[in-house]
């Protein structure tokens, strides 16, 4: 799908998007209603007990830590915390759900009525055409500094529930149920605490959806509530999307898009779905309410179920637990535990560290990156923050990208990066040498000082030593000296290169330039 196709469609239609974001509370270590460990993968059906297997007579006991994490998540997203709340049973039969009901929340979620502000800039701005007259309260607010804008996205609710097990369909193609001869169930995931956040349908473009999900992830990571791995499924985003002709106030028929395993997939699936719906309407067709599956390979959505089943979940209050009552004072004390959140951190990076807005945004949005950055700055000193940021967003980001690893997995520690930046600033190594040092650190995990020493890489800034090398080079190249003195100053590069070669790359380029200019001029 060409990019301008979406922009073209969005000129005629307004998209209305709401997200449902499930996040596993991996911070708790144990499942929602039993003591089994929370972890990804593992030998199937080894992290199970009578409770999470739904054995006859077993009872759920709520994980108080998971509830606290959910309340913190609510506080961090500007939600109201319910003073009185309880679990309900949501009933439907499916083999991945041991009890054939899911303990979830219904009309009394732990948190509700929140909001997040997302910033859209760059190419994403082109997707939104309607912020001209919009008001600031809700909806986009013009943000002229970088051509971007801010939009406020409401959060309907955050509730807590238990995750299901995993089905593995055998005999069909690509593990799909169609054509499978039988199915296996792994209950290791069953009972993992799962926070479900439901957004208001305030999102108008795929880019806003992506920014919202990213923002949420960065907040969850700052809180430490989850590892938020979209690949491993600890953060799962579903999108509800409908379109309506511009100016129309009635909502169109929505489809629900599932199986987006990355932020890019979220963006692309929503974009695909908006265009698909527009093409249907443009050709006199109509949108059917259905669940659609994003196929990242084929880059398209397809209907998961041809007919939307009419579910009656028969919710009723979970009788195995007593309702929860929270004292306002206790909630206030919980709010005091909130760590610094990404927005506040970004502000601090621009004011305290003098970082450009872009750098500050990049480093503050990812909690692990931010921790790394602050560790390195603490060691290197505030005046070297910009250099640390440059290396992190340059070489380090490239390294993580190339090796497809997380920042916690690299051998280059904040201390090593700080030391390396120090060596550059002190003039001990050149920037060019530093790149070699960095590559070496990443490969071996050795400290920069050790690498510099082992490679004999010390930068030579001593004027006498450089003068003697320059003297030799000038003597060996009388013709070039003559051309320079005749006005062809372009040969300067040749001399610098020659001196540097003589010094095995260890000469301080600034000093070499200085000495050459002086001696050639003389």
């Amino acid at each position: 799908m060409p990019k301008d196709r979406l922009a073209e469609v969005l000129e005629r239609y307004e998209a209305v998007i709401g997200l449902e974001i499930h996040t596993e509370v991996t911070a708790t270590n144990t499942k929602m209603f039993c003591g089994c460990p929370v972890a990804f993968g593992g030998e199937p059906n080894t992290r199970v007990c009578p409770v999470c297997l739904g054995m006859p007579g077993a009872l759920p006991v709520p994980n108080e830590a998971a509830i606290e994490w959910t309340l913190l998540a609510g506080l961090a997203t500007n939600c109201d915390i319910a003073l009185w709340s309880q679990f309900h049973r949501k009933q439907y039969f499916y083999p991945d759900m041991p009890k054939d009901y899911q303990i979830s929340q219904y009309d009394l979620p732990f948190a509700s009525g929140g909001a997040l502000e997302v910033e859209v800039d760059g190419e994403g701005v082109a997707q939104r055409i309607d912020f001209g007259g919009a008001v600031a309260a809700v909806g986009p607010e013009a943000h002229p500094e970088d051509g971007g804008y801010r939009a406020t996205i409401g959060i309907t609710r955050i509730h807590l529930e238990e995750d299901t097990g995993k089905m593995i369909h055998v005999g069909g193609s690509e593990g799909r149920i169609a054509g499978a001869t039988h199915s296996l169930v792994d209950f290791n995931r069953a009972g993992t605490p799962l926070m479900e956040l439901v957004s208001e349908p305030d999102i108008r473009t795929p880019e806003e959806a992506r920014r919202f999900a990213q923002k949420l992830r960065s907040i969850w990571l700052a809180l430490g509530v989850s590892d938020c791995s979209m690949e491993e499924g600890s953060m799962r985003v579903d999108g509800n999307v409908s379109i309506r002709p511009r100016g129309e106030t009635e909502l169109g028929t929505k489809s629900e898009v599932k199986n987006m395993n990355s932020f890019k997939a979220l963006h692309d699936a929503l974009a695909y779905e908006i265009v698909r719906q527009a093409e249907l309407l443009d050709t006199g067709g109509r949108v059917v309410q259905e669940t659609r599956h994003w196929d990242a390979g084929a880059r398209r959505t397809s209907a998961l179920r041809s007919k939307e089943e009419a579910h009656d979940y028969r919710y009723f209050p979970e009788p195995d637990m007593v309702p929860f009552r929270f004292e306002p004072a206790w909630i206030a004390s919980l709010a005091e535990k909130l760590p610094e959140l990404p927005d506040a951190r970004r502000e601090r990076y621009t004011t305290d560290f003098d970082l450009p807005k872009h750098d500050a945004s990049m480093l503050s949005a990812d909690f692990a990156l931010a921790c790394y950055f602050e560790d390195a700055v603490a060691l290197a000193g505030v005046d070297r923050a910009k250099q640390i940021a440059n290396w992190m967003l340059g070489e380090l980001a490239a390294l993580l990208n190339a090796e497809a690893i997380e920042i916690g997995d690299t051998r280059v520690t904040p201390a090593m990066l700080a030391e390396m930046v120090g060596l550059i600033e002190e003039g001990a190594i050149s920037g060019k040498q530093a790149k070699e040092v960095f590559a070496d650190m990443a490969a071996t995990g050795d400290a920069p000082g050790a690498i510099v020493a082992a490679r004999g890489m010390k930068q030579v800034s001593d004027t006498d030593a450089i003068e003697s090398v320059v003297h030799g080079v000038l003597e060996a190249n009388p013709n070039e000296v003559a051309s320079y003195r005749a006005g062809k100053t372009g040969v300067m590069g040749f001399f610098v290169g020659a001196v540097m070669r003589e010094m095995r790359g260890q000469g301080n380029p600034q000093v070499i330039n200085e000495v050459l200019r002086r001696m050639l001029g003389g």
Partner: protein, 502 residues
């Protein structure tokens, strides 16, 4: 062989402590009784001699090593077959769990065994505890040791009959709407339903989670008090178990009722007189009032105006919770699975249709309907409101009284098949017991004598305030002492004699 069936739990324990007999002999005595009687009574679905003799050996070894035997050392016990115990099948009286082996222990059972009790076997019950006669067991009914043509009550009919027949000294039942007290009344045994939350529900297969409570049967109030001592108390595995401190309930027995305030419930719902015993049963309460007055209690009348809505509310809330609790029996992970299913829906539907009996299917359908969209408010919502009113009634009553009195049941044990065709008539058997489950209070049924026209036992229900089991059992013991009920059914005496018992 030594016959210890007439001994109380304390006498068994003390006999072992004194070296008069061994725990092994206590187990042998129980199995001899079962051998003699259970062909007729069918109180047990499964006998567990390996477990019982292993437990007996531990008791005997500890005593030989000079340890003081624990409170229930060597006491033979029966366990309702909806409670998990490793080494047993836990069938809930249902075909669908016919092959189900427990993978963990029910807390209450574990605590009973930790107190030295010997697990003799698993007792018959109405399927998933749905019923008042034990006729709904997939494995055939239990017969009443007072008259083999009559039901023992239910759903804990096997637990009640096993104690009434002297096969075991104590047994555990579960009570959701009267399933301990009603069979207690019908078999002439003492049946206690503790306060909701007093005993952990962990490991008892749930029927109505907000109503279920495990409790003991015995031939005396003192025995059920000893059993409660063992099983009561908070459990980290049950979020509805109460942190309320546990008392020594057995110490309350014998303290008398001087100054106790006893209220006679005067407005329990009217029921048809099916067996000509209704007046006599009503008279039980009046005589009990006289007894309490004579013992020094203050006696007065009390009303529970909303209790008449109890049965209707119960038959919404109970089935609603049951329909949800029984969803897990789907043939996927354990239990009986239909053969050659065409797909997962077919597997679910046929496993459940083949595995569940008719009363279970009726309750699942009732509950599913009551929770359905569009009906929830009219049924479940209304029932919860009625429940709140009943709770308020009891709360008000206990501001003035320590113990309330009603009959346990409106009739004595009925004949097999008599009510099987009319569920409502069957449900009416629990009309006096159900309001207590809705409110969550504790209550006990104590034998009140034999009905003159049938010769069958009648029961007095005593109801206590929340966590006031000590007061309740104190009153029950005083009444028991005044009534002088002989708990041994004449039939049992003659059967044991005829079959060469001692």
């Amino acid at each position: 062989m030594l016959d210890l069936s007439a001994l109380s739990a304390r006498e068994v324990r003390d006999g072992i402590a004194a070296g008069e007999f061994s725990a092994r002999e206590a187990a042998e005595s129980a199995y001899a009784r079962i051998e003699a009687l259970d062909g007729d009574v069918h109180a047990f679905l499964q006998l567990t001699p390996e477990l019982a003799f292993a437990a007996a050996e531990r008791v005997d070894a500890a005593r030989a090593a000079g340890e003081d035997p624990p409170p229930l050392a060597g006491v033979p016990v029966g366990i309702k077959d909806n409670m998990n115990l490793i080494g047993t099948r836990t069938t809930c009286g249902s075909r669908i769990l016919g092959n189900y082996k427990s993978v963990y222990d029910c807390t209450a059972v574990r605590r009973l065994l930790d107190a030295g009790a010997l697990p003799i076997g698993k007792c018959n019950m109405d399927e998933f505890a749905f019923g008042s006669s034990t006729e709904n067991s997939a494995y055939g009914p239990t017969r009443n040791p007072w008259d083999l043509e009559r039901v023992p009550g239910g759903s804990s009919g096997g637990s009640a009959a096993s104690v009434a027949a002297g096969m075991v000294t104590l047994s555990l039942g579960s009570d959701t709407g009267g399933s301990i007290r009603q069979p207690g009344a019908l078999t002439g045994t003492v049946g206690l339903k503790p306060t909701y939350g007093r005993v952990s529900r962990y490991g008892v297969v749930a029927f109505g989670s907000s109503l279920d409570q495990i409790g003991p049967f015995g031939t005396s109030v003192a025995d059920v008090a000893l059993a409660l001592d063992a099983i009561a108390g908070a459990d980290t595995m049950d979020a509805t178990s109460s942190p309320e401190p546990v008392e020594r309930y057995s110490a309350a027995v014998g303290l008398g009722v001087q100054g106790l305030r006893v209220g006679i419930v005067r407005d329990m719902p009217g029921v048809p007189d099916t067996d000509g015993c209704l007046n006599e049963i009503a008279h039980v309460v009046d005589r009990a009032a006289e007894t309490f007055a004579a013992l020094g209690a203050e006696v007065g009348d009390v009303t529970l105006p909303s209790a008449r809505h109890g049965l209707a509310a119960y038959y919404i809330i109970g089935p609603a919770e049951a329909s949800s609790n029984l969803a897990r029996f789907d043939g996927i992970r354990y239990g009986v699975r239909a053969e050659d299913p065409t797909d997962v829906l077919d597997l679910y539907m046929r496993s459940r249709a083949e595995g569940f009996g008719p009363e279970t299917i009726r309750r699942i359908m009732l509950g599913t309907y009551a929770l359905s969209a569009g009906y929830y408010d009219a049924y479940y919502g209304q029932a919860q409101k009625a429940r709140t009113r009943i709770i308020e009634d009891f709360r008000a009553a206990f501001e003035h009284y320590d113990v309330l009195l009603t009959p346990t049941t409106p009739e004595v044990a009925f004949r097999f098949g008599e009510k099987a065709a009319d569920p409502y008539m069957m449900y009416l058997n629990d009309v006096y017991t159900i309001p207590v489950n809705l409110a969550g209070n504790c209550a006990v049924s104590v034998p009140a004598g034999l009905c003159s026209s049938t010769g069958m036992p009648m029961g007095l229900q005593l109801i206590g305030d929340y966590f006031a089991e000590s007061t309740l059992l104190r009153a029950a013991a005083a009444y028991e002492q005044a009534v002088h009920f002989d708990p041994v059914p004449p039939l049992v005496r003659s059967l044991v004699g005829a079959k060469g018992g001692e």
